[in-house]
C-alpha cells in the first residue's frame, strides 16, 4: 500500500476531479470563444472557476488569467511587469523562490532587462525583513516573495512585507508565488498585486494554473495570438483542466478543517520522528510555525537520496527537495541560503501532505522511516 507524502511535487487527482475532466472532454469540448450557445456555456463555467479563485483570495474584482501552470504564471508576473514599466527597472526576489521566479529574474538581469537583488533568508527560511526594507528604500519595480517555501514550508510574513512596500515604495508591485500555499494556507490578495497558483498541487490535473492580478494592473503579454484571457495569454483555454480545477477547489472547500487536519498530521510526524530518531533535525521553521503541509527533516548521517530510495522500496514516497531540482544533485539553494550546513543539507528529506493523508499513514511512515534509518545509519564513510 503506497503512502504518498510528496504532495508538494504533485497530487493525485481525486475521483470527482477525474469525472469533471472526463465530462469536460466528452460534453463541454466547445471552444469558449465560439459564438454559439454551448460555447457560451463553457465560457460561463470558466468564469465560475475564476469566481471560485477570487473568493478564495478574498478579492472579488481580481482578474484571473489562466495559464499552463505555476511556472508560466510566475514568468508572466515578472516579464509582464517589466514590459509595461519605465526604467530604471529593479526587481528583488527572495533567495528561497522557486526557479520559475529566481532563475527567471536572474536571466532577465543577465539579458540586461533589469537590475536584480536577491533577498537573503533567515535561519527559519523566511525572507529577511530588514533586507526587504532596505531594497524598497532603493526603489523597486517588482518585489516577488513566495507565500510558502516549497522545500521548508516557511511562511513569509506577506502582511508585513505588503505594509512596508506600500509605505516605502508605493509604486513597487508585490508578486506572491502561492503555488505551495493556495487553499492550504489562507491568503488575502488585498495584500498583494499578483498571485500565482497551480492546479496540480491541490488535486487538479497538471497543465493548469493562474496568475491572479489586482484589477487595473497592466501587464505585457508573452504570447501573441487570438487575444484570450484579456489578451494576456493568447491560446485556446485549457477548458478540461480549468473545469477540473473548479472541481478540485470545490473538493477542498468541502474540507473546511483541512488546514487543521494537515497541521495535526505534520506535528504528529515531527513528534514521531523526533521520538524515534534522536538525530532528526527539522530544517526551516519550527513545525508549528511553518505551513501546515510541508516538513523538512534531516536524518544524519544518512543521505536524503539514500533513505528516499529505501523508503520507496517500502512504498513510502517522499522527496529530497523540490521535485524540479531533485535530479540536479546539488545541495539545495534554499537550505544553503538559510545557513544549513552542507552535511545536514545533503541529508534533507521533504514530507508534504494533502488533506487526504491519514493519521495511520503518518504512523506507518514514521515506523518505516525508523526501521530504514536503523539499517542505513550503521553505514558511514570510514
Amino acid at each position: 500500500m503506497e503512502i504518498y507524502l510528496d504532495n508538494s511535487a504533485t497530487t493525485r487527482p481525486t475521483g470527482s476531479v477525474i469525472r469533471a475532466l472526463t465530462r469536460a472532454l466528452e460534453s463541454d469540448y466547445y471552444n469558449p470563444s465560439s459564438l454559439y450557445a454551448p460555447a457560451l456555456g463553457v465560457e460561463k463555467q470558466l468564469d465560475a472557476c475564476r469566481d471560485r479563485i477570487r473568493a478564495e483570495l478574498h478579492l472579488s474584482d481580481a482578474a484571473v488569467i489562466f495559464t499552463s501552470g505555476g511556472t508560466e504564471a510566475n514568468n508572466l508576473a515578472l516579464t509582464g511587469t517589466l514590459g509595461v514599466s519605465r526604467a530604471p527597472l529593479r526587481v528583488a526576489v527572495s533567495a528561497g523562490e522557486h526557479p520559475s521566479v529566481y532563475d527567471a529574474a536572474l536571466s532577465l538581469m543577465q539579458g540586461g532587462a533589469c537590475e536584480c537583488a536577491v533577498l537573503p533568508l533567515n535561519a527559519g527560511g523566511t525572507v529577511d525583513i530588514d533586507a526587504v526594507r532596505s531594497e524598497l528604500k532603493k526603489g523597486l519595480t517588482l518585489l516577488s516573495v513566495m507565500q510558502v517555501n516549497n522545500e521548508t514550508g516557511a511562511k513569509n510574513d506577506i502582511a508585513e512585507i505588503s505594509r512596508l512596500a506600500r509605505e516605502i515604495c508605493p509604486a513597487c508591485r508585490l508578486h506572491v508565488d502561492g503555488v505551495q500555499g493556495f487553499m492550504r494556507e489562507d491568503f488575502d490578495l488585498r495584500l498583494a498585486d499578483m498571485y500565482t497558483l497551480s492546479g496540480h498541487k491541490i488535486h487538479a490535473p497538471k497543465g493548469v494554473g493562474a496568475l491572479v492580478v489586482r484589477r487595473g494592473l497592466r501587464l505585457k503579454s508573452a504570447h501573441v495570438g487570438g487575444g484570450q484571457e484579456n489578451a494576456l495569454r493568447s491560446g485556446t483555454e485549457n477548458t478540461p483542466g480549468i473545469l477540473a480545477l473548479s472541481q478540485a477547489i470545490d473538493d477542498m472547500r468541502a474540507l473546511p478543517l483541512r488546514r487543521e487536519h494537515m497541521l495535526k498530521l505534520k506535528l504528529l510526524l515531527a513528534r514521531e520522528l523526533a521520538a524515534r530518531i534522536p538525530e532528526a533535525t527539522v530544517n526551516g521553521p519550527a513545525p508549528e510555525d511553518g505551513a501546515c503541509n510541508i516538513l523538512n527533516v534531516s536524518l544524519p548521517p544518512v543521505r536524503g537520496e539514500t533513505i528516499l530510495h529505501a523508503l520507496e522500496a517500502q512504498g513510502v514516497l517522499v522527496s529530497t527537495g523540490s521535485a524540479c531540482s531533485a535530479k540536479k544533485q546539488k545541495l539545495s539553494r534554499v537550505l544553503t541560503s538559510m545557513g544549513v550546513p552542507a552535511r545536514r543539507a545533503e541529508c534533507a528529506l521533504r514530507f508534504s501532505l494533502s488533506p487526504y493523508n491519514t493519521e495511520e499513514e503518518i504512523l506507518r511512515a514514521a515506523q518505516i522511516i525508523q526501521e530504514q534509518y536503523a539499517v542505513l545509519s550503521k553505514f558511514q564513510r570510514r
Binding site: E305, A313, K378, R381, R382
Partner: protein, 380 residues
C-alpha cells in the same frame, strides 16, 4: 540509372581461407542493419553493394556503423554508355569547387576506351561543364571515380566506416558495465573487433536509484546497437557491500568489492558461454586501478580480462565516448550515493594475501550465490 552504395571492407581483406566466412557475416550484418528499409544487399567483385531503398542517405549512415566496413560511397549505377557516363560525371561535379582528378577502373575490357583514355575524356567533359574546377593529379581535393564493371558506377564522396571486424566473428565476452564514461567505451573497443558482448551491472539500491539503473540500460542500448541488441545482467550488490563495510579493513573495502565483482562476473560469463571479461580500467586512474590492485582482482577469474583502455588518458576516453554517443548519458548525475562505501584512504598498493585474509571474515559463497539468485537479465 539508380542510386547505390559501394561498401568497402578493410581488415577482412587480410583474411586467408577464412575470408568467405567473414564476408558472409559482414553481408548478414549489413542486411540486419538495413532491415525495414527495403534495400537489397549483395557481394560482387570484392565489394558490397546496397540498392533499392527509398532513403539511401539513411542507409549509408546505417551501414557506416557496421563493424568491418572500411568506407561507404554513395554512387550512381548506370548503363555503360560513354557519353551518358561522362555527362553524369559532369553533373555530379557541378556543385564542387577546387581541384579534382578522375580515376577510372575498367574490368569490362570490351568498353571502347581504356581507363586512362576514359579519365582524360571524362575530365574534359567535367571541366567544360564547370570551368571553375582545375585538375590536380597528385593531391586533388575531390576524386571522381568511374568504374566500368557489369554497369558503370560513379562516385565522388567516401564516408569513413566503423572499421574493425564483423560482429560475431570473434566470440563472446562479458562487459562489466557501470554508469560511468569508461566501461561503455571499453565495450565498444572490443565489440569493434567482432566480439559479441553481454554486460553485467552491479546495482546497490537504495544507494543507487532506479534512474541510475535505467541510465546503465540506456548505455547498453547505445553500444548494444552495434550488435543488434545486448543482454544485461543486473546483479543486486547492496548486501555484499554492506557485509564488506561491516567486516573488512576500510583500506581494502573497494578492492574486495572489485574482487567480488570479478567473481560474480566470472560465474555469469561461464553460465552464458562468454570466453572473456572486459573492464574499462586504465592504469592509475583510481586507487582500485593501480597495477597492484589490478593484480589482486585479476586472480579472481581464470578467464582472460580485456582492458582496452588500460593505456588511455581520461581525455582520450572522453573523446571516444563522445564519438560513439555515450558521453552525454554517462555524465547524467544519477549515482552518487555509494560514497558511504568508498573509504577515505583506500590502499593503493594492496597485498593479495591481506585481501584474501580480509575475505575470510565473510561468507563469500553465500553472498555470491544470493546475488546470482537475485540477478535480473534484461534484453535492450
Amino acid at each position: 540509372m539508380r542510386d547505390v552504395l559501394l561498401v568497402r571492407f578493410g581488415e577482412v581483406h587480410l583474411k586467408g581461407l577464412n575470408r568467405p566466412y567473414f564476408l558472409k557475416m559482414l553481408v548478414n550484418n549489413i542486411k540486419k542493419t538495413l532491415e525495414g528499409t527495403h534495400a537489397s544487399v549483395w557481394l560482387s567483385d570484392s565489394r558490397i553493394y546496397v540498392a533499392g531503398a527509398p532513403d539511401m542517405r539513411d542507409c549509408a549512415e546505417r551501414v557506416r556503423r557496421v563493424f568491418g566496413v572500411y568506407s561507404v560511397s554513395p554512387a550512381v549505377e548506370m548503363e555503360k554508355e560513354l557519353d551518358a557516363v561522362c555527362a553524369q560525371a559532369a553533373r555530379m561535379m557541378q556543385g564542387v569547387s577546387g581541384t579534382f582528378k578522375v580515376l577510372c577502373k575498367r574490368s569490362d575490357k570490351r568498353f571502347p576506351l581504356n581507363s586512362q583514355e576514359l579519365a582524360v575524356y571524362a575530365g574534359e567533359q567535367i571541366l567544360n561543364a564547370n570551368p571553375s574546377l582545375s585538375v590536380d593529379v597528385h593531391k586533388p581535393q575531390t576524386e571522381m571515380w568511374i568504374e566500368i564493371r557489369d554497369h558503370a558506377y560513379l562516385c565522388n564522396t567516401e564516408l569513413p566506416g566503423a572499421g574493425g571486424l564483423p560482429m560475431g566473428t570473434a566470440g563472446r565476452a562479458l562487459l562489466l558495465l557501470s554508469g560511468g564514461i569508461d566501461s561503455p567505451v571499453a565495450g565498444y573497443r572490443i565489440m569493434r573487433r567482432g566480439v559479441n558482448c553481454q554486460a553485467v551491472h552491479f546495482a546497490s539500491p537504495p544507494y543507487t536509484s532506479e534512474r541510475a539503473k535505467q541510465k546503465v540500460l540506456e548505455l547498453a542500448r547505445i553500444i548494444g546497437a552495434y550488435e543488434y541488441g545486448m543482454r544485461v545482467h543486473v546483479v543486486p550488490f547492496t548486501d555484499i557491500q554492506m557485509a564488506i563495510h561491516e567486516n573488512c579493513d576500510p583500506e581494502y573495502t573497494t578492492l574486495i568489492m572489485r574482487r567480488f565483482m570479478m567473481r560474480i562476473a566470472d560465474r555469469i560469463a561461464k553460465q552464458n558461454a562468454c570466453q572473456a571479461l572486459i573492464t574499462g580500467e586504465s592504469i592509475g586512474q583510481v586507487a582500485s586501478q593501480t597495477m597492484e590492485a589490478l593484480g589482486c582482482t585479476d586472480i579472481m577469474t581464470d578467464l582472460p580480462v580485456f582492458r582496452p583502455l588500460i593505456g588511455h588518458d581520461k581525455l582520450e576516453i572522453i573523446r571516444i565516448a563522445e564519438h560513439i554517443g555515450t558521453y552525454e548519458t554517462s555524465i547524467l548525475p544519477y549515482e552518487d550515493c555509494c560514497t558511504v562505501f568508498t573509504p577515505r584512504h583506500p590502499a593503493t598498493k594492496p597485498k593479495k594475501d591481506k585481501a584474501a585474509y580480509e575475505e575470510t571474515k565473510l561468507d563469500a559463497d553465500a553472498l555470491i550465490n544470493a546475488a546470482l539468485a537475485g540477478t535480473e537479465t534484461v534484453l535492450v
